[in-house]
Symmetry: C2
Subunit: 411 residues, 2 copies
């Protein structure tokens, strides 16, 4: 029953783990840009066009040569000849010369010769065919010039970018309706434990329902992976080995929630170790909850052994499964984690050297967020249901006192 000769710090464990397997985004597919939200680019996208492709007005007003308006004001207005109107979506067939102007709308194309737009609020029609300009315009004022957003040849998205709605917009803006993205990695999920039964079944005394498979499946999907559930293995070396081998062969990565006792956790580590080299990299992370975490890479494929208790599995999944999936998809630009700063409402003790993730309820007032820790034993799933986030107590702290600021990861 020997366990945890050495507990590794969280960041260091993650680095070692991520360095030890290659990204697999070489497996790519082409998808419609419009439905690619959440996918990860597997190619650099270079714009083949200028955006905008023509000079545009940003206001409703009169397109002018700026020099025609120099010195004009409400008391000494300039008078310009109105030579036309630019209809939306058309390319005007006239040219603005000195002393001339044309009506143009927001988003409309500037006529040739014009280099500024005077807002309609600063003008009035003095007589038919003539506009009184009450404010001087400067060159480029109220205009967007060709290529001001993006120029031909600009890299608009590098490879490894997570596509948010705005990136979809950017792709379509330059006419990229198809995009090469990383395939969603298949993440195999296996529960283990003699005490665990499928949630649909009747619950004999002494057994509990497998809720980890569904929680992890939902999380994997949120993180961009494709969850594949393999059911429940008993705490038996041969059965577990066979099931892990099956998951390993069919998926790009393996997540096993270990049985709860030390011996079954050791069993999981031994089974994983046999899948290939280098095997188990980390067995035990200095974190609460989630200490008995196993991080392994076997012949280039990552495997994670999660603690069986659902709160630990949830926390560790945020910290290790998410970056694993991102690496498998070749993500280069990690999105900022939703981490709010809050004020602790009560004292919360911790252990120096250990990183703590504490479920908290958040509330907000004029002074910002307040965090109230949920007192819990780590196996209680409803502590997470009640929680808005996880307060992070760093390794170099021995706890937080009421009134202190704490970072809270929204969950």
């Amino acid at each position: 029953m020997a366990e945890f000769l050495k507990l590794d710090p969280v960041e260091q464990s993650l680095c070692l783990f991520l360095q030890s397997f290659p990204e697999t985004h070489l497996f790519t597919e082409s998808v419609d840009s419009a439905s690619a939200v959440g996918r990860v680019t597997a190619e650099e996208i270079v714009s083949g066009e200028d955006i905008p492709a023509f000079p545009r007005s940003t206001v409703d007003g009169y397109a002018v040569r700026a020099e025609s308006t120099f010195g004009s004001s409400e008391s000494i207005p300039a008078y310009l000849k109105l030579i036309g109107e630019v209809k939306m979506g058309t390319s005007p067939d006239f040219t603005i010369h000195t002393g001339e102007c044309a009506l143009v709308y927001t988003g409309g194309m500037l006529p040739a010769g014009s280099n500024a737009v005077v807002m309609i609020e600063n003008t009035q029609i003095s007589r038919p065919g003539e506009v009184e300009i009450q404010k001087a315009g400067s060159q480029g004022e109220n205009c967007i010039s060709i290529g001001e957003d993006v120029t031909v040849g600009d890299v608009i998205l590098s490879s490894g970018t997570i596509l948010r709605p705005q990136e979809i917009g950017g792709l379509l803006a330059v006419g990229n309706t198809q995009i090469k993205v990383a395939k969603r990695p298949k993440i195999g999920i296996l529960s283990s434990g003699d005490e665990v039964v499928s949630p649909g079944k009747k619950l004999p005394l002494g057994k509990i329902r497998d809720i980890n498979s569904a929680i992890l499946g939902a999380m994997v999907e949120t993180f961009g992976g494709q969850p594949v559930e393999f059911g429940i293995s008993p705490d038996d070396a041969q059965a577990l080995s066979q099931m892990v081998a099956k998951v390993y062969s069919e998926c790009d990565a393996v997540i096993i929630t270990a049985g709860s006792s030390v011996s079954t956790r050791d069993l999981t580590a031994r089974v994983i170790e046999k899948m290939g080299k280098p095997g188990v990299l980390v067995h035990g992370v200095n974190i609460k909850p989630g200490k008995p975490t196993i991080l392994a890479v076997c012949d280039g494929k990552p495997l994670i052994g999660l603690p069986g208790n659902p709160v630990s599995a949830f926390v560790i999944s945020h910290l290790f499964v998410k970056p694993m999936i991102e690496k498998l998809m070749g993500v280069k630009r990690i999105l900022v984690e939703p981490m709010v700063s809050a004020t602790m409402q009560t004292n919360f003790p911790s252990q120096t050297g250990r990183k703590d993730y504490v479920p908290v309820v958040l509330s907000r007032d004029m002074n910002g967020f307040k965090a109230e820790p949920i007192h819990f034993k780590s196996n209680l799933i409803f502590s997470l249901v009640r929680a808005d986030g996880l307060a992070v107590i760093s390794e170099d702290s021995n706890g937080l006192v009421a009134g202190e600021k704490v970072d809270v990861l929204l969950i």
Copy 2:
């Protein structure tokens, strides 16, 4: 061309809008709990079971009657008779009496008679059939009692709860494999503007591609709605009226991105006004970008007119479309917005009375997040592609100075 007689503050506009239409979550469907992430409960869930259903150990150790260990220490240990082992997933068929103990694993069931578990680290086998206890146990120590997580009759989820992975776990823990949820509301999306063409088409000079439909579609999906795209309407009263009427009749809510000029925005308002009572509630919100927003409710159905420029449409969608969809699904517990606190790196002017959302790039160092505003004209979609978030400058500020703290909404 009269416009914006009065600009309404953001919060007030939202309240008025949300109060003016009923939630439609009466349209419900039953789905598998395991695949219900992101859905919204349409019923109160009461637990029919105690969780845990049996007293469990939280450690590997020896189940005892606490009183058998009182006063014991490393120097004066207690010696207990080892009467058995609780196999995982089984209900032990023996009872612990004073002076007795049984081996139990983490998550295992406590035998009758026991009320504490002494961790294995604080024991040793003194001779076959006897365990030396080196630490006193107190009643309930290292145990979870029946119903400690949830008790029969507890409301585990109220109606209107957004299901996160942990709520899925909670449902399955009590054996709820099916759940009644709100149907995803159908959100009709219509672009308008004579200058707008479908992104798949060749781009004639003076025209731009419709990127709003795809951006809004992706956002609606993220917010839990079901986007239905209706294409592009020309800036023509009759055509627009017909298309809006079609979207209105087929969907639970309508989003129209208006043409860019003041006259076409007014056209949108007039068309919306005809769809029913009370009609347009707000036309113009004191916000940048996004001022020309239209909020309307017609015969109980909400309609939003968004500015045509994609950055404005994006911001307004976060502020108004998201809560609209949540209300349509009957959401009662709004999740905390991912809002980080950051330090402004440069001065940024604003107008008192107006709320500003400024695209920023975030970086992080020892002192927390730093926000660097992206200097932009509001129609440039790539300002959003580069941005990590939107810095919020409140109505009562006339701008931020470098070094000042600002809330940044992650996007």
